[in-house]
């Protein structure tokens, strides 16, 4: 039974999820094998996942059978799971709650493709639409206050299966990194009466050197203080704090932008392992003028070691200006 524990000093929540240890290949000490030939996420193998929560499929197909293009299922080894109610408990200075939440897998294509960048643009758009639809649906559960969508691509980035997929974890608490971003953005807003996201976009477009891609509705750029080599953010130009409120037109443009950026990364860096996360405002907050949803993409080129863990201080061997130039130049 998963449980959430709060660090009394750092106010950081940790999910204790012993069932996760049952996953195949959870140890980096284990040999890095590519998995068996069997692909539980492929079309035709629907019986090897829990029943689907959402699928975009042809009109003549049936649930949990073939004929789908994008499919969302519960994670078989969930970090958080359905519980009757949220329960909290204290033990002296320590605080915990039960592991209420959801952990879903977004299977991004029916065939065994390993990188979202190689799916058709229509396919990537449907993945973005599935993200939006799942978040809008989960928002209706008042016990959940946040959903984080993320992708682990490649074994060295934490994936246990090669078939292109992403994950969604919805939780009864707002993750600390999201809170700190929102708080930092609010402080900036209170001081400057301007959104830090608008300021960043304006300064990045004026400078130009960190831009990876500039489209009517989005910019992709390597942040000034990138923690990781080739870290890239995708930011909408128009204010919107909650991803679930994105317009259908923006979804289509985002599909194109994400495919392009991941393709550039693949061409520039040779299909590296990578992670991305989608940061969006908490469900229980109204539209926040100071915060904006965005993607943060990190290729895993260097090992993160003791210094970074221990300090929150990062060492990045590649200037973001150099990274952005290399990504800009990596055209199809």
């Amino acid at each position: 039974m998963p449980e959430l524990r709060k660090d009394p000093m750092m106010r950081r929540w940790v999910v204790m999820a012993p069932d996760r240890a049952k996953r195949p290949m959870q140890s980096i000490a284990a040999p890095l094998i590519a998995g068996t030939d069997f692909d539980p996420f492929a079309e035709g193998n629907e019986a090897s996942t829990p029943p689907e929560i959402l699928a975009y499929r042809s009109a003549d197909s049936v649930a949990n059978g073939p004929g789908w293009r994008v499919r969302v299922v519960p994670n078989k080894y969930p970090a958080l799971q359905s519980e009757p109610s949220l329960e909290t408990r204290r033990e002296g200075i320590y605080e915990m709650m039960n592991g209420l939440g959801t952990h879903e897998v977004i299977i991004e294509c029916p065939h065994n493709e390993t990188n979202l960048s190689r799916l058709s643009v229509e396919n990537v758009r449907e993945v973005m639409a599935a993200y939006r639809e799942r978040m809008a649906d989960l928002k209706r559960d008042r016990r959940l206050v946040h959903a984080l969508i993320f992708k682990n691509n490649g074994i060295l980035a934490g994936a246990s299966l090669p078939h292109s997929h992403s994950q969604l974890i919805a939780s009864p608490v707002v993750p600390i990194a999201i809170w700190e971003e929102i708080q930092g953005a609010l402080d900036f807003f209170n001081n400057q009466r301007r959104s830090i996201f608008d300021e960043m976009i304006q300064q990045e477009l004026a400078t130009g050197s960190r831009i990876v891609l500039d489209t009517p509705g989005f910019i992709a750029f390597c942040p000034y203080a990138s923690r990781f080599s080739f870290e890239t953010w995708i930011l909408p130009k128009v204010q919107c704090s909650h991803f679930e409120n994105i317009s259908p037109k923006s979804i289509d443009e985002l599909g194109h932008v994400l495919k392009e950026v991941l393709g550039k990364q693949e061409r520039a860096l040779g299909d590296p392992p990578y992670n991305y996360v989608l940061h969006s405002a908490p469900f229980d907050q109204p539209e926040l003028p100071h915060f904006r949803w965005h993607f943060e993409i990190f290729p895993r080129l260097t090992r993160v070691a003791g210094f970074e863990w221990g300090s929150g201080f990062y060492i990045n061997p590649v200037y973001p200006e150099d990274a952005a130039k290399k990504l800009r130049d990596a055209s199809a």
Copy 2:
């Protein structure tokens, strides 16, 4: 030339250190080779490191020659380095400073041993004494406000050489993780009029289930909200915020405790890759009654993936009570 850049939203500093890219084997995508047979840290190979800053050596030996037991040298690929003065600059919303600081390597033994746990207890005590002595020396440079000591043991934990060593980075800013710990500890102190470290020790000793080792001066335990499987902290029982103020008697006991804890980890988990960090209060602060220096040790058993990076929310598949029991039971 390294430079430090501040993230305008997260107030997190990132070191841009292009020289670090020249290190051998900085990419996780590269094959995981064990290095060449040549050991630049071994006795007799002193010429292959920069000249020593400190060495504990026999009275009849000479600097940068054989005859030492523990030796401290500048890192050949420094993240921060000596600069004439600290310079800061703003570019619109962005802020930077030059990469003033030091980056040192503590070579823990003259022979090619790969794990501190297998050194003699006298040797480990001298490593602890070298930590203390370097911090006390760097504290005299008023441009530096903090030193972080850390260890990357094993290639999968970020080490590029197998010979047992640790590192020290002294910087003109306090790393955000240290600030947040101190701030969290201060809030607790202001609310409860008690040190959170005293409370933790009292509760851990009363509960018992998370204790790994209990000696007259120290406890080693798996924290209630451990982020990582088998995460272990070593905490002095007597208040002391600055590691450089530790007594010689405590250094001796600490050497024993650290060797024991790392030995338990090695026996319980089969010599896993691991990191540790030594958290200590900033140089420019007086003794802080609410904060205490401590070691945080993390074996690298699972891959940290997109979810953790993106959320600051950790998933740990092993309850700290189960981890502590396994470590307690792993006697020599």
